[in-house]
Symmetry: C2
Subunit: 464 residues, 2 copies
């Protein structure tokens, strides 16, 4: 192990050069003009897999973007890890708010800035290099590994479900490992045991059949922007609770133990508010900020548009207005039910003066992972060794819908070993990964693969 | 007169060819990339003035777009008409909703479709051709004319006020004539005696200092889009009345005579709603549609934007959201006071969770013109002769702020002789001018210049 870890320590410059190449491919899955980049990025990943000694590396075509697979099965009797990640990234708009170009990885203040640096290319790369470190030092990996790196995570993984169902044998494993989340804070390594789900909607409010002159027509019809704002405004009550009928019915209440554990975490509302630049936090009354972020559902407007949005003044009364609205879900809500509830509610609150269209764009389920499973235990030890600190337990506000699908289709739990940071700007301008986390992540991954067989055999011995 | 009118009748094809050239210049004043087109368009207008025998044609530079002036002062003793119009046009977005290209004038179903066909290039052109018809037939114009054609009407005429103040002597006249409004309906010629004013605002709501991941941060801060929708939604009460404090204080109530006159106009709410494609009209309770359109103030969202508005889904909690909001004003409201009231009110309703910026983009005052003035009386006779029908009186929901400025600076009233139609799409895709109105307009303008001296002398004899 010393040799493997020493190798990781002495290859930092090469790691940075290689991850820059990976990042430089603008693999924005939601924008059709990036289709050739998606193909190129999948090929880059497959090439890396071959270079580091993974076998059977292949690119599976899908109706959307390709899936990259490879395996190393040279540890008979040891558990098999299904490593999941994604090579696609979020759009970069508004690009003018980036300090350095989004696809040119740039180091500032100990961070590597670029789209995908944390979510998720940088974290996929961490595992590639951990596996490579074993191979380059004449060590066999202590576990079997199957890698599944997809290109549609940022657009709802529309084709992954069918792929997993169609390749159950190929993907047969003992647990899933995902590095696509964040530590609790810089210098505070943590294991994440819960995720929120997502139901993402698009709505359109139609008024008159044509844009109208706001002077000649203002006062006669319901302005669709006004109607939309009235409808959206009504989706929260004065206590910050979501008014969609039945929305909270399936929400699993926080346990006393969880509320106590969250209170022990190092946290300051004042510091958090200052960091985000807001004078006052906002959310559902009766819950702490961490509770609201991790264990309570939310409803957010992700985008709104209508009428004239260009330079200067245009006195238009627009024909329609639209919004993207998403709900973060917690156990035991489901995205399909939430989407249905939303659609029914949104249509029910539409005034007779307008027409309303509601479309579900995509969804993912919330999840909770047992904290005494061997995978989580191996992760705790690996983090302690990789970062030299005892990690804490946390939940996460974001969604990794595939966690639920792996459980459903393959029957296995997922370990979430996140090396990002909460302020990493994952879906915003100036995304970054902290370099200590990047290199610490490679060390932790090396340890994880080393620790897992021991924890696994204990589990087997216990007959679980 | 017969010769002049016969000439108008026999030059229709040439008129259409020439107005197409005028329209083909994309003189969008609000978009800086069209600056060269603005210059070219001003030169086109000046060239036309010279061609039709106007004297002293010149282009005045301003800090914004140029103003075109010319005069014909060969009718000593007769009144002097200051003809005002504008050669600038509205933006053409969304351009994909146009049936034919916005700057290629195209005839369909007896209408001429193009940006500026009605507002206001087509109506400026009507007067150029009426004056030309006198000149080309060896007739001296019965009135003196000063033409003032500006290039910033669609962006609030920011530099016109200073120009008029600086050229009071040059512009000295007995009345203003403007053709920049609509008839009551197709085949129903009308004189407009009232206009609404305008106060156009832009607001920005700022939340966190950066776009955030809606999963990792949703539930902790007030989403600026949500806050903006809540604020905008609160600007109308359940009776459709504007909630801005003090907003109705200066509104002049409708007289009984006006309400009776409006009820006599041919009007059907059902037909109007059907034409606009809405199931139900909307507006301030207690007023008829025409009353709401012409004599009651309104508040409209002209545009809204924030967050991700592109293809697909982006789970962003945006840093800010913005809107363009304008108020239509009626006598005796003023734009400055309305803008101030709005700013104060909007800031007062901002929650502590966000920061709010309010900017006044431009404004114009409402106006009412005496219906027994010689100019309006000449207009009534001219319309009757030009269209073969007795015209009706109406008000207009739109704004021509300069009307108030001419009264204030030059001390003269304005006659509004509109040849557009209410459904002409003036600020929307597929703007058009009806060809009967276009040619009838030229005839009416010829008559107006012929009728005015007689009405004027009656007024002088009455000692008014």
């Amino acid at each position: 192990m010393e040799k493997v870890l020493a190798y990781v320590g002495s290859n930092r410059d090469r790691y940075l050069a290689e991850v820059k190449d990976f990042i430089a491919i603008p693999s924005v899955s939601s924008q059709s003009n990036h289709q050739p980049d998606m193909k190129r990025c999948a090929e880059w990943v497959a090439g890396q897999m071959r270079t580091i000694g993974m076998q059977n590396a292949q690119i599976f075509q899908t109706p959307g973007h390709p899936i990259v697979y490879s395996e190393w099965l040279g540890a008979p009797g040891a558990p098999t890890v299904l490593l999941y990640g994604h090579y696609d990234v979020q759009p970069v708009d508004p690009v003018n708010l980036w300090t350095s170009p989004p696809f040119e990885a740039t180091i500032r203040d100990g961070n590597l800035y670029a789209r995908g640096s944390a979510d998720d290319k940088g974290q996929v790369f961490i595992h590639l290099k951990a596996i490579e470190a074993y191979a380059k030092n004449g060590h066999l990996l202590p576990v079997n590994i199957k890698m599944l790196i997809e290109g549609e995570e940022e657009v709802g993984s529309a084709n992954l479900d069918a792929f997993v169902r169609a390749h159950k044998d190929l993907l047969k494993a003992d647990l899933v490992l995902i590095s696509d989340s964040s530590m609790f804070a810089k210098g505070v390594p943590s294991v994440c045991y819960g995720l929120r789900g997502l139901a993402y909607m698009e709505v359109e409010v139609e008024g008159p059949n044509s844009d109208l002159h706001s002077g000649s027509f203002g006062g006669s019809v319901h302005n669709p922007i006004q109607a939309l704002t009235e409808m959206i405004a009504s989706l929260h009550d004065k206590n910050g609770r979501i008014t969609v009928k039945g929305f909270y019915d399936d929400v699993r209440p926080l346990t006393k133990a969880e509320r106590t554990a969250f209170k022990k975490l190092p946290w300051s509302d004042a510091k958090y508010a200052k960091q985000l630049g807001v004078a006052q936090l906002y959310g559902e009354k009766g819950y702490s900020t961490l509770e609201r972020l991790w264990a309570r559902p939310t409803l957010e407007c992700n985008g709104i548009w209508g009428g004239y949005t260009g330079e200067g003044a245009k006195t238009v009364l627009p024909a329609k207005a639209s919004a993207k609205i998403s709900m973060r879900l917690v156990p035991d809500q489901t995205s399909a039910k939430a989407a249905k509830m939303f659609e029914k509610h949104f249509k029910s609150i539409a005034p007779k003066t307008v027409k309303v269209k509601v479309k579900a764009l995509h969804g993912g389920e919330p999840a909770i992972t047992p904290i005494d499973s061997p995978g989580v235990k191996a992760a705790v030890t690996a983090l302690r060794k990789g970062f030299g600190k005892k990690p804490l337990y946390q939940r996460e506000g974001g969604s990794i819908p595939i966690v639920v699908q792996f459980k459903k289709i393959l029957g296995i739990d997922t370990v979430l070993l996140g090396f990002g940071l909460p302020d990493e700007n994952a879906h915003a301008p100036n995304e970054f990964i902290n370099l200590d986390n990047f290199f610490g992540g490679i060390r932790t991954a090396v340890h994880f693969y080393n620790e897992l067989p021991g924890e696994w055999s204990k589990r087997v011995r216990k007959g679980r």
